[in-house]
Subunit: 395 residues, 2 copies
């Protein structure tokens, strides 16, 4: 399979889309698949859809498509809810495995919602628990014997800095801590080998590099040997061993089903399942090689042609995910001007412009053209107009 | 507006659908609306959809459509997640309002997932907390001064028995307890006046009488005067006061936005928003009058023509929601045989057949025909075939 596979995506003509790290583009076929789900399944089969269209099996079936992309065994991933909820669920189960410890270790590069969910959980568990946040490069040294769980996002949402999953997981285990990885910017972006890393938990979203659509369902992974001992704090009926027996007390299901909570979002899962068909013949190592090539081409050209920008991503490709970030004092306005020219990236306060490189639908020519337009916008100070400097943009 | 409004739904020819209490049918227009969201919003606008298509405002905008149906003020309902998650969120916030009390009071008619979620929450809060479950008719007497929260589903999912929301809320308040109502079988089924009842919290799902589709997003209501003191335990970034400032610590948003958690399910919300257009010119009092007429016609005819069935719903309409349940020793097989004849209801173990009456798309003739077919199935023992007696059905 030769990358890119542009014909698998319905990208608007003329757009160079460098924001798949925030929201992936529409894969062809999703519209038809969802339309069939709506009219031929829900509309025609009504309640029978749960059986005849196998809606009830979706969360694990779709999980098995993601397993291949993140190096997990079959039946170790369940889909559903949002990533924030999945973080909470994994974190609660992880803490439960270290009842004598009280520290959740994270880093300042983690996505804020992960930290917020940990705060919320601690609010219930009580003040003896602590969320300890260190700098990303201090994580390994911070694996002290009081750490119950290390909760980290592998790839930094601002800078693209990537943690060494194997090394940090080993450090966590050496300290007796449980390891929880957030793969929001990893799944479909870089090769991930969950089974090889040996981490206990992982979570991720599917609307970035997996192209599931805005607000697509999230996933949770539990290491297979721990699935049947992981205690679900979000003990919803579809994680029950016999959901349709309607027993009065919760008994967790055998298997990864126990990480399900409520009724699955059938429409969103249908869209995602179709979006994941893009990946069937794609190897993550090929994606990685192409991503590094595109990213390094971008960095080299931007540094040559746009000296007013400052690289805030690691220069070393092995320390970077699939995004490149550059800072500029007026980064927000520059990005707005770029978007007006159909080069779509995004901005994170205070000054960071993010550019995601998804080799499924980007090639080297896109990179050359994007840099040419960026150089134009900067050289001509095209960003310095009131229309680009308003900050009403929400994402 | 004269009920029913059958032309607003894409019901399969010949089907009499008596299972809207489990999954509402497809409203016309939803397929087109979702298709537009996929191709014209996500596909064409990509990440810009969050702004130009106002995806970020969906959860409260759609909440305001539901407010009207359940008697709530504007901006007191947020959409998102599943009902189980919303139960957890409301329950945690409710317990936080009574820190000196330790009892969650519920009843044996509550939907099991609500009880399971309470168990999970107690698992985090510690053994000093208690989930106390009494019989439905013992709830008012059980409002003792140790009750922190009374958590009840208004309409019983098995029997259709309906609690008196005003009386029980008053009893809860007289005992100093916080009142949390689950409206799963109420919203769109019976007139609900949350503002009048004065309960602190309510939650509900949107895939039953509101016809949002399988796994459609759930909702949470907080009484307006309490919104800004309700502490979110599921403190996700979209409930933060400034989600895109990416601060390190959680600060709840002002307003009902604080009950949001993660990225909204845009596709599911688009479907739901369209499905709710059915309701713009519908009055819940008209729905209620028609529902009682259909239900009572059904009960009277079934009792005349099918004496082997035993009514398990309250006979008094004022004590019943919009569903009627009958028991039969071989209820599962009888329901399968009925479904084979295109009369669709459902079954709940051990012996209960449920029939939902949604006056939006059902009329008296449907009821007559349904009873005639039911009488046929019973009279001819058509259910007594192996194909109907297998119990592989999941819902």
């Amino acid at each position: 399979m030769t990358l890119p596979l542009k014909d698998r995506f319905a990208l608007p003509e003329g757009v160079i889309y460098l924001d798949g790290n925030s929201l992936g583009p529409l894969p062809r076929g999703v519209d038809d698949r969802v339309s069939r789900m709506i009219t031929d399944e829900w509309g025609a089969h009504l309640i029978k859809g749960w059986n005849v269209d196998d809606w009830m099996a979706q969360p694990i079936r779709v999980g098995n498509r993601i397993s291949r992309i993140v190096g997990a065994a079959d039946d170790s991933i369940a889909l559903g809810d949002t990533l924030s909820i999945k973080v909470y669920q994994a974190l609660a189960a992880a803490l439960d495995m270290r009842p004598d410890r009280r520290v959740i270790l994270s880093d300042s590069g983690n996505f804020p919602s992960d930290l917020y969910m940990a705060e919320g959980l601690i609010g219930l568990l009580g003040d003896s628990y602590e969320l300890r946040i260190v700098a990303p490069d201090a994580v390994e040294d911070a694996m002290t014997p009081d750490v119950a769980v290390a909760m980290l996002t592998q790839v930094d949402y601002r800078t693209g800095r990537m943690h060494d999953m194997d090394a940090i997981t080993q450090a966590a285990h050496a300290a007796g801590a449980v390891m929880l990885w957030d793969l929001a910017h990893s799944a479909g972006a870089v090769p991930v080998d969950l089974a090889g890393a040996g981490c206990e938990f992982a979570v991720g979203c599917t609307y970035k590099y997996l192209n599931g659509g805005p607000g697509a369902p999230a996933f949770i992974y539990v290491r297979p040997d721990l699935i049947d001992v992981a205690r679900p704090a979000l003990s919803g009926w579809l994680g029950h061993d016999a959901p349709f027996a309607f027993e009065r007390s919760y008994r967790p299901a055998t298997g990864i089903e126990r990480m399900r909570v409520g009724t699955p979002p059938v429409m969103g899962l249908a869209a995602l399942e179709c979006a994941l068909e893009v990946w069937v013949d794609v190897e993550m190592n090929d994606i990685r090689a192409a991503s590094l090539h595109l990213s390094e081409t971008f960095i080299a050209e931007v540094e040559t042609r746009c000296p007013e920008l400052r690289l805030v991503s690691p220069r070393n490709g092995s320390e970077r995910g699939s995004q490149v970030s550059f800072a500029h004092e007026h980064g927000y306005a520059v990005m707005q001007a770029l978007i007006a020219r159909d080069v779509i990236g995004d901005f994170r306060a205070p000054d960071t412009m993010r550019f995601g490189f998804a080799p499924l639908y980007l090639d080297e020519d896109d990179v050359h053209r994007a840099v040419a337009i960026l150089a134009d916008v900067l050289g001509g100070r095209l960003w310095d107009r009131p229309v680009f400097r308003k900050t009403t943009r929400v994402t």
